[in-house]
Amino acid sequence: MQNPILKLWLAFCTLLPLGIFLLIGASYKPPESLFYWSWIPSLDINFSLRLDGLSVLFASLISGVGFLIQLYAVAYMKPYKGRAAFHLYLTLFMLAMLGLVLADNLLLLFVFWELTTLTSYLLIGFNHEKEISRKNALQAMLVTGSGGLAMLAGLIMLGEMAGTYSISAIITQGTSLVQHSWFTPSLLLILLGAFTKSAQFPFHFWLPGAMAAPTPVSAYLHSSTMVKAGIYLLARMLPVYGDSALWFTLLCSAGAFTALWCAIQAYRQTDLKLMLAFSTNVILGQLVMLIGIGSSYAVTAALLLIAAHSFYKAGLFMVVGNIDKATGTREYHELAGLRAVLTISFIAALVTAASKAGLPPSFGFLSKEYLYKAGLEFGWLLSGSMLLANAIMVALGLLIIIKPFLSPHHEKAAPMKAIEHNQLLWIPPIVLALLSVVVPVALLNWYQGLVIDPAAAVMLPDTQVKTVKLWEGFNLPLLLSALTLILGIVLYVVYPRLKPRLDQLMSGLPSGPGVYQHILNAVIKLANWQTRILQHGHLTQYSLQFFIVLLAFLGTALWKIVLWQVHPLPSIELDLYYYDIILAAFLVIAAFVVVKARTLLLAVAALGTIGFLTTMVFLVYSAPDVAKTQLLVETLMVVFIAIVLRHLSAVNSVPRHSTSRRLVHACVAIGIGVSISLALWIITATPMNQEISEFYAQTSVSGGKGRNIVNVILVDFRAFDTLGEAVVVVIAGLAAVAVMAGKRINKLVSESTRENR
């Protein structure tokens, strides 16, 4: 930390989220505040931000937890190279995430959605020297990115159905879109986006894979931000899609199955970080299920669970990061007696694990009570599966606390070193642990008034939610909580015997990463195959391909016209002068010379003749600027060819192709010639629309202040096109130089001429 600029940068990165957090708090006026800038009004894309109950919950979690994560990362990333870049990525990710939850325009939301995908790629792949990091970062990006594309299609459908891209305007239309024929497709596509982002089965596998990232990233992205983006989208769309049966069925089944499946997976892990990763999948599944149910209790439970999970999961991830730092391992079997060196982290771990396990009076307990309340309204199947998933969470909480921290340190366990002299490593988790208890005990009314009521009003416009209470007497949910706890303890006790059984049982099942790898390989194979076919590197073949495609399109169009008599072939009154005939005759002769030439020099000279004759044609038909350009381009061609021939006398004979190949070339050439002539015949005979040229002729002087219409078009009316073309010219020049670099041109030329022979 000697470098003052680095110090300043770290301070900035840390204070920015805090500033945003305070700004959000200051500018939030329930029920909502709007910020609006016009961006591309013609496409109904506006930079409009909306701060309402739902987005304030997410935005304050993102900036608040973001502040703690940045603090933690300052300490955690100290030994890493490129830590300044790490904080940059983290900050960019946070801004993208904030944009996502604040956007009030569907397409703006999509832009930020993809930005989170991109920035998370940089974060997950931060240890890019390791192959596994690169691979898993790519996997996360491909899975969430392809889901994002599906979602874009869905969002556009939704926008077109509603006639507006403003989210708040769409939500006020409520469920009136159900009748539209695009309703179901758009629902499915948007779900695909949300499910991939929020790691629902069968897309769940990228999230544990993303654990290759440094721990601060996991603590931030995979607890409270990125994976919650899908949850946010679903919560936003609840008023629109919530009434449909498909929504209920899909979300409940996908959510419940993900929760149960990933809970079992989490139970099988021995790496503490992977346990946490899979248990994040569990929570995401439960949230999806709750939003699918969409009742008053379910929405309350979801709003509690989002915050509760963010607090305890980020805290636990940081504790695991500290364990990693102190011992160099995260393997369950190698850890023991950590309490001695990680005293404060242990307290944080104890409280957050209690919240994770759902012990009263933690935030996790509260959200679990409401989860059961919501589940019980829909029968035993949902609540039963949630009970099992939660019991496994209890077992996981015990696993993380008891053996690593409480058991006595023994010889086989990993050696430990003290790290807690660096306060930044334990302040953030302890703050999160405190929040996990303080909010439900002391600040529940405040949370209700500021978050639950306004957010529920957005998600369920017609329903009034009940006041959340920590203690509601003895009732069925409380009984289920007790059951969960008992079952969890049982699962903890049988863990050493049950785990090998489970591993044996599940070893035959196809794994998510395996299937993903198969699909990826197939795509790469397909790409290679088509590249081999189309990109063979032979110039003659390229031009042949190009002309065949051109012929196919032109031919079919002309075929229709001639055969079906769509337009009768017009007759043209030929208005020929003697110079027209002379020019045409010379053009034909020159073309024949090109074809029959035996030496390259003759062929080039004849080709040049054609070019100059074309210039003459332009001159005759009074297009001086075009003629001039053509003339100059031809001259340059001659210069280039002169240079090549001067140095490469070896290529000065035209290779002779086989007869069959010449026949193919002849057919294509004649076909192109005939169809172009036919097309020109038809085009020139139809009366031209003079409107555009007249517009230019009239406004050239008044609007463009120039009498040369061609030039005024180039530099004024259509200057944007010209700018693009100039960029293309420069890029082509750079590319040509790059291809020639390394003195390979001689080899290239001799190779290509040999192959053509």
Binding site: P624, D625, K628, T629, L632, V633, T635, L636, V639, F640, A642, I643, V644, R646, H647, L648, G703, G704, K705, G706, R707, N708, V710, N711, V712, L714, V715, D716, A719, F720, T722, L723, A726, V727, V729, V730, A732, G733, L734, A736, V737, M740, K743, I745, N746
Partner: protein, 130 residues
């Protein structure tokens, strides 16, 4: 190419062509000409010089690398496009002060971009082959 007549006249013709290309560039808005054509003429002028002398000679006379010409050309064209934004008009609208206007600046950018990129290829081909 070592003929003394060619070499001597090439220097004179190059200068004349460069002057002519600037003339074409400036008159382009009202008469046949313009940045693209003028740029091509300038390139041909340099090509002539290159054939009479060496690529190193041309590079020395250019002072800056062709890539720098190409890049600054694009930047100048962009600048001409951005200028109107400060006057509350859309990107690339023409601004005029008497006879001088932003389209001329734009055309100068195109002129430099064409010269830079074509010369870049031309000089490289010659260098790689010899």
């Amino acid at each position: 190419m070592s003929s003394i007549i060619f070499r001597t006249s090439a220097h004179i013709v190059t200068v004349l062509m460069l002057v002519f290309s600037v003339y074409l560039l400036l008159r382009g808005h009202n008469n046949p000409g313009g940045g693209f054509i003028a740029g091509l003429i300038a390139v041909i002028a340099f090509a002539l010089l290159m054939l009479a002398e060496t690529t190193d000679y041309v590079r020395q006379r250019l002072v800056y690398s062709p890539a720098a010409f190409a890049g600054s050309g694009i930047l100048i064209a962009l600048l001409a496009g951005l200028l109107p934004l400060f006057f509350g008009q859309p990107f690339l609208s023409g601004l005029w002060w008497g006879k001088i206007g932003s389209p001329l600046l734009f055309d100068i950018g195109i002129y430099l971009a064409v010269i830079g990129s074509v010369l870049m290829v031309l000089l490289n081909v010659e260098e790689e082959l010899s």
